[in-house]
Amino acid sequence: MSELLRAEGLVKEFPVKGGVVHAVSDVSFAIEGGETLGLVGESGCGKSTLGRLLLRLLPATAGKVFFKGQDLSALRGESLRALRHGMQMIFQDPYASLDPRMTVGSIIMEPLKTQRVGRNRAERAEMVRDLMNQVGLRPEFYSRYPHQFSGGQRQRIGIARALALNPELIICDEPVSALDVSIQAQILNLLSDLQRQRALTYLFISHDLNVVRYLSDRVIVMFLGKFCELAPTQALYAAPKHPYTRFLLDSVPVPDPTRRDENRALLTGEVSSPVNPPDGCRFHPRCPYADERCRREAPALRALEPGRLCACHHPITTSNKENPT
């Protein structure tokens, strides 16, 4: 595998009344070609902002994004547009991201038109029908409008539009969060199939730890604008190293009533605000392991084992993994 995208020192700050929202704070990572990298965290942790920074849908306060070795911030106009073909996005609410006055056919055709793909309208329409087939939409629905479709079908429209320019990387921002569980499974299967058929790379952003686990090769856990942990999926779920990861995993309701009385460690306190976040480790006010050093010094994201990064002064080891209560 080779590196498809690299982010270096990405920062995004929004000034607000009474302070600055530190949405993304000095984040660096790489996405390998062909993998699914999961990005998980709770609301306000900066995961969606990070996705938008990568595509330059939002300008970064600092830092660089390299796509296939090219610095996106150095590109302008036509060359930026050309490189952007390779990166597309799928959004959470397929309805809000589809123009209600356009037919499904023209929605999917739009990127083809703006990028002048295909010789004429007839050729583009043929490509659209082919895309509809690939995402499981009947091409007869070409002239229908978004409101005539169910939520799952609308997400298929969004996926077809994202695929139109034959991208290498798709940033999926909570693509199944608004869907019922039976429909969610249909879309997850579709995303897996497309990845196999087209050798796609995904950055999969979600708050749902089960969905991220199912789809991802590696997972990043984010908290208040920073990475807590980055690890191969199996290792992360089997033995989390960062206390926050551990709490998150223990919080997920388990669909097995025989396990309901297990003594799981729950987080106390409220989600802290990304406006003027705490000094030191941003998780320390809620962390039972925190000591003086955690309050003072922000831990760096460092390798505990090859491929396993963790930003914690006191990562969980086999000797201290009992419940901190």
Binding site: S182, A185, Y214, L248, D256, R260, V271
Partner: protein, 333 residues
């Protein structure tokens, strides 16, 4: 019967612009809530689970109407009561919590006053007593610095704290029944876990019966004693929670469980229920799930299955209920 609420044959329909026929959202639903139990009402969007609760409480929107059925609560049929009689029961003997706490709180009144007003309204106590009891309740539901927060407005609290306030308001009158409609759906997972634990602890302490409406099978497994699964306006399966998760019998329930990406690993295919839920105006003949059911036979498309007892109170609306076999996540049933 030692049930706090017995819903029988509930039928609820809605008028819609531009259509003469009404949409039947709930079609003959029976639900029992035993005294002191937590009953889960589970299903996907549009299955009629929330409409069932709103019908029972007389809270349907203007275009909605209860067409048939009864809901016996303490010897009275709630569906036959007048508005002012129902209002006396709601918030006093029956409390409610909804998904989005912000819409249920008054934005221009402090949270403390909202709790103490509901104490004074239903409890007939003076202001000072109500205030003391409100602070006590806010502490109980885990509001930090409850005395100071008494004077906070809803917008000054996080979503998790707002839901705690609503739970406090709902529990302060020690209702016989609490109806909670997706109480944790809008919350982050770490806050959801806290709220579920709070509800469980309060329930154990007070013995209040709870009807918990949710789409999340994980939440059901964490909290409920028994479960009703709804599909297209009907209860399709009902069982105690352990029976249901060990061996559900309705193909729809089995499909829902198999579609959960709980332990499935990358590369494994998730089971998915083909197609989508039927339109309220064009319900399939026979079994309503038959067009999406991979086990459906010809008779399923003609004959409407009854909610039949499979033994031990395990009810299932299917002509060919599935055997009690363990399920493997990620496998097709």
């Amino acid at each position: 019967m030692n049930s706090i609420l017995e819903i029988r044959g509930l039928v609820t329909s809605f008028a819609t612009d531009g259509r003469k026929d009404r949409a039947v959202a709930v079609n003959g639903v029976d639900i029992d809530i035993p005294r002191g139990a937590i009953v889960g009402l589970v299903g996907e969007s549009g299955c009629g689970k929330s409409v069932t609760a709103l019908s029972t409480l007389g809270l349907l929107p203007e275009n909605g109407r209860v067409d048939a059925g009864s809901a016996m609560f303490g010897g009275q049929d709630l569906l036959k009561l007048k508005d002012h009689e129902l209002r006396r029961i709601r918030g006093n003997r029956i409390s409610m919590i909804f998904q989005e706490p912000m819409t249920s709180l008054n934005p221009i009144m402090t949270i403390g006053r909202q709790v103490s007003e509901s104490i004074m309204l239903h409890g007939g106590v003076d202001k000072a007593t109500a205030r003391a009891r409100a602070i006590e309740m806010l502490e109980k539901v885990g509001i930090p610095e409850a005395k100071r927060r008494y004077d906070s407005y809803p917008h000054e609290l996080s979503g998790g704290l707002r839901q705690r306030v609503l739970i406090g308001m709902a529990m302060v009158m020690q209702p016989d029944l609490l109806i909670a409609d997706e109480p944790t759906t809008a919350l982050d997972v770490s806050i959801e876990a806290q709220i579920l634990r709070l509800m469980r602890d309060l329930q154990r302490e007070s013995g209040t019966s709870i009807l918990l409406i949710t789409h999340n099978l994980g939440v059901v497994a964490e909290l409920c004693d028994s479960v009703c699964v709804m599909y297209a306006g009907e209860v399709v399966e009902r069982a105690d929670v352990f029976t249901l998760f060990r061996g559900c019998a309705h193909p729809y329930t089995r499909g829902l469980m198999a579609a959960l990406p709980r332990m499935a690993m990358k590369g494994q295919r998730l089971y998915n229920i083909p197609g989508s839920v039927p339109n309220l105006w064009s319900m399939p003949a026979g079994c309503r799930f038959s067009p999406r059911c991979e086990f459906a036979k010809e008779s399923c498309r003609q004959e409407k299955p009854a909610l039949a007892d499979l033994g031990d109170g395990h009810l299932c609306r299917c002509l060919f209920p599935l055997d009690d076999v363990p399920q493997h996540e990620g496998d097709n049933p």
